[in-house]
């Protein structure tokens, strides 16, 4: 049954991890697809829009409402079955299922239903997993699809888009669209979308959507594009996901590693050297000296902050990587050792772990930096209500990363801002977490952010690599595509949601 409750001004449903807050009068909580259809019907009748909300772990205010009602999908989770097609096994899930839940269900012996005949019985238990790893494993899969989430493992596995087999959506007119990859492709830049009143011909934007780097800036658009790809990354503006099929990857034993270096420059150089090697890591992640100091500082106050040993005193930067434990591992390590020594590191200045519980500790250490900044901003918001988290999310081609790093440093110094840098260095995608102290910092950070977004675009990158656009990064769409491109996005929105009832304010939409 569709549950409706009034929303107070302090409700957590008015915000997300960006710490941006919005306004809405009602919280609608469906437990099945029929409830979602009912919510859309009410929205159309009342003219009050719906903002789709998952687990509120987004970073750009995508689920932050701008009036109307919040449609929380939290009660529509669940692992609905295992299926198999020509590409391989897939898992069928409700939109509120989390990656953590999915992978624990795949690993454990708990019984699973079959979405195609016999698939659950045929799939060797523990041998498959969902590989997209957007760090925040408690985010909903609906939110992951809506933002085309990615993360460290994008280096090897690509973003969410590459793993979505099928989506089922409630459209703005209350009709249900069930489309799997291969069902419907665009003719050139025109794609036919079945709606309640018959097919709607949608003209896709004419811009070139940059797929050479990690990119979530704007609607996907390409000649002959699959219809599924229009909904992946559309931020709840074109339809409400009620079910999805996700392809699975074969699991193989991994060993997690951290290599420590005496300076940021040494770590950058090590990663540059590593690119041409045979190491073939699953991901390459970076923590700069500021990040390591942040961890050390918090641990001085709270020994339980991470479950890792104390960081080596000499470590001023760190590079994380997972390697496959196969017959080539010793050879890979030899090569990595040579490259590390060239940059004042070594195989001695490292940690590794292959037990699952140790690998989870490595993950926790990587995640501890954004978590600390998030908690800091949440605390600061009590005394500076207008403040929200400011973390850059820009990707550039790998051969331009040094220029981006230099620009980051110059901008932060010029605006007098404290920062730490960490993230997906293997994808040319570093996060600059700006440590705000007051509203002056906030205003300076906004200016610096714009400058850096322009720099990323100039270098052939994206101003929004993995967090999406939401409500906080809309101006970057203009920088990237110009007014004409943004208007083309609005045309897609108008074609599929003429009354503007779905997630207003996200991306290009009004």
């Amino acid at each position: 049954m569709l549950r409706a409750t009034p929303l107070g001004p302090e409700s957590p449903y008015l915000g997300d991890e960006s710490k941006m807050t919005g306004s809405a009068s009602l919280l609608l909580s469906p437990e099945c697809e029929a409830d979602v259809i009912e919510a859309v019907r009410r929205a159309r009748e009342s003219g009050e829009p719906l903002t789709v909300s998952g687990m509120r772990t987004g970073m750009c205010g995508g689920c932050v409402p701008m009036g109307g009602a919040v449609l929380t999908m939290e009660r529509m989770g669940g692992i609905r079955g295992i299926g198999r097609d020509g590409r391989g096994f897939f898992v069928r899930v409700g939109p509120a299922a989390t990656i953590r839940e999915i992978n624990e269900a795949l690993r454990s012996g708990a019984p699973l239903a079959s979405a195609t005949p016999g698939a659950a019985e045929e799939m060797p238990r523990g041998a498959y997993f969902y590989p997209v790893d957007p760090t925040e494993l408690n985010g909903s899969i609906g939110g992951n699809i809506a933002t085309n989430a990615s993360g460290p493992r994008t280096l090897k596995y690509g973003p969410t888009r590459d793993w979505v087999r099928r989506v089922r959506l409630v459209m703005s007119d209350g009709s249900v669209l069930d489309v799997k990859r291969g069902d419907r492709r665009a003719r050139g830049r025109v794609v036919s979308v079945p709606m309640g009143g018959g097919p709607v011909e949608v003209r896709l934007p004419s811009y070139e959507f940059n797929t050479r780097v990690k990119n979530t800036a704007g609607l996907m658009s390409a000649d002959g594009m699959d219809l599924v790809d229009l909904f992946v990354g559309s931020e709840g503006t074109l339809g409400i996901i009620t079910e999805a099929d996700l392809y699975l990857a074969e699991r193989h034993p991994l060993i997690s590693n951290i290599f420590f270096f005496p300076s940021d420059a040494d770590a950058y150089a090590f990663v540059r050297d590593l690119r041409g090697s045979s190491a073939d890591p699953e991901f390459l992640e970076f923590l700069d000296s500021g990040s390591l100091d942040l961890i050390r500082g918090v641990r001085e106050r709270d020994r339980g902050f991470t479950s890792m040993p104390d960081l080596p005193e000499s470590a001023r930067s760190a590079v994380f990587m997972d390697l496959e434990m196969d017959g080539r591992l010793a050879g890979k390590y030899r090569e990595i050792g040579v490259l590390a020594e060239r940059r004042s590191g070594s195989l001695d200045d490292s940690w590794c772990g292959h037990e699952l519980r140790d690998r989870e500790r490595f993950f926790g250490l990587r995640h501890s930096v954004p978590r600390t900044v998030f908690e800091y901003v949440a605390g600061l918001k009590r005394t500076v209500p207008g403040i929200h988290k400011m973390a850059t999310d820009m990707s550039v081609p790998l051969d331009r990363l040094d220029e981006m790093v230099a620009a980051n440093e110059a901008a932060m110094d010029a605006h007098g801002l404290e920062r730490v840098t960490f993230g997906h260095i293997g994808n040319g995608h570093l996060h600059l977490e700006i440590i705000l102290k007051d509203m002056r910092d906030m205003e300076e950070a906004k200016i610096a952010y714009r400058e850096l977004a322009a720099k990323a675009i100039e270098l052939g990158g994206s101003p929004s690599a993995e967090h999406g656009i939401g409500k906080m990064k809309r101006e970057f769409l203009l920088m990237l595509y110009g007014e004409a491109g943004v208007e083309e996005m609005r045309e897609v929105k108008r074609a599929l949601d003429p009354a503007g009832v779905l997630s207003p304010g996200n991306m290009a939409g009004p």
């Binding site: 012996g109 238990r125 479950s307 001695d348 940690w351």
Partner: protein, 258 residues
């Protein structure tokens, strides 16, 4: 100094779930070295100086090699898998029989044997004391620190309500169960991992231990588990003042009365 560390591989309790009928779901839960075993290993590696030996051994199935590999990664110099179909179904007594045979036949002359105080899958905490008994060595349970001072070892036991420091002469075997380790588990370097991966984990069977038939396994066990069930009852605890043993015994008897 020769130190033997007996370690046990157990299901990772963080990954064991309970099904709707209250039964443990172990499938999918990875096997890991028990946390107290790791404390014992850390203590052994911390005590060992130049020229000292740390020998890790585990009685278990072939998969227990993974726990032994971790011992080698974290500083053990040798590792032995004590593995034989005849050992299947061993209770604490039979396990102590096997481990004592290892200490006498494979690694004789040890100065110190360290075990975890208990394993998370069985929770009996009986093996270390029984092992000490079989070897005729003094037992030190719930040890959280060992220091070498002059010609002796100082072992600090934590009984919850009191710490007890015991001195034991170096050169005479002691058996200790370890109850506490560092705040966070250690991690090996890649160099240590590569060294360990190149080392041999030797397998020891019943014949190598010169164990007579029926000494271990279900036949060599003194206990049988008739059934297991979830306990619905809560526990209530009461501290008993032990300064007067007679009064303490009376208090315990009163507490046990139905």
């Amino acid at each position: 100094m020769r130190i033997i560390v007996f370690v046990k591989q157990v299901p990772d309790t963080d990954k064991v779930s309970v099904d709707g009928e209250g039964r443990l779901v172990r499938s999918g839960a990875p096997a890991v070295m028990d946390a107290y075993s790791e404390c014992a290993l850390d203590m052994a590696c911390g005590l060992a100086g130049d020229g000292d030996e740390v020998i890790a051994a585990s009685m278990g199935p072939p998969g227990a090699r993974a726990a032994l590999l971790r011992c080698l990664e974290l500083g053990a110099g040798e590792a032995f898998l004590i593995c034989d179909p005849a050992f299947a179904g061993s209770d604490a007594h039979a396990t102590a029989t096997v481990l004592s045979a290892f200490a006498m036949e494979i690694a004789p002359g040890a100065d110190l044997i360290l075990c975890g105080k208990q394993a998370s899958d069985g929770d009996t905490a009986e093996v270390p004391p029984e092992l000490a008994e079989k070897l005729g060595a003094p037992q030190f349970c719930y040890v959280e620190d060992i220091r070498i001072e002059g010609g002796s070892m100082l072992l600090v036991q934590n009984y919850g309500d009191e710490l007890r420091a015991c001195r034991h002469p170096l050169g005479a075997l002691a058996v200790a169960s370890v109850s506490k380790g560092g705040a966070n588990r250690r991690l090996p370097s890649v160099s240590a991992y590569l060294r360990a991966a190149a080392m041999e984990i030797k397998t020891v069977d019943a014949a190598a231990l010169r164990l007579p038939e029926g000494a271990a396994g279900a036949r060599g066990s003194k206990t049988r588990i008739a059934s297991t069930m979830a306990s619905g009852a809560g526990r209530r605890g009461e501290a008993v003042d032990g300064s007067d043993p007679a009064l303490a015994a009376s208090a315990i008897l009163r507490g046990m009365a139905p």
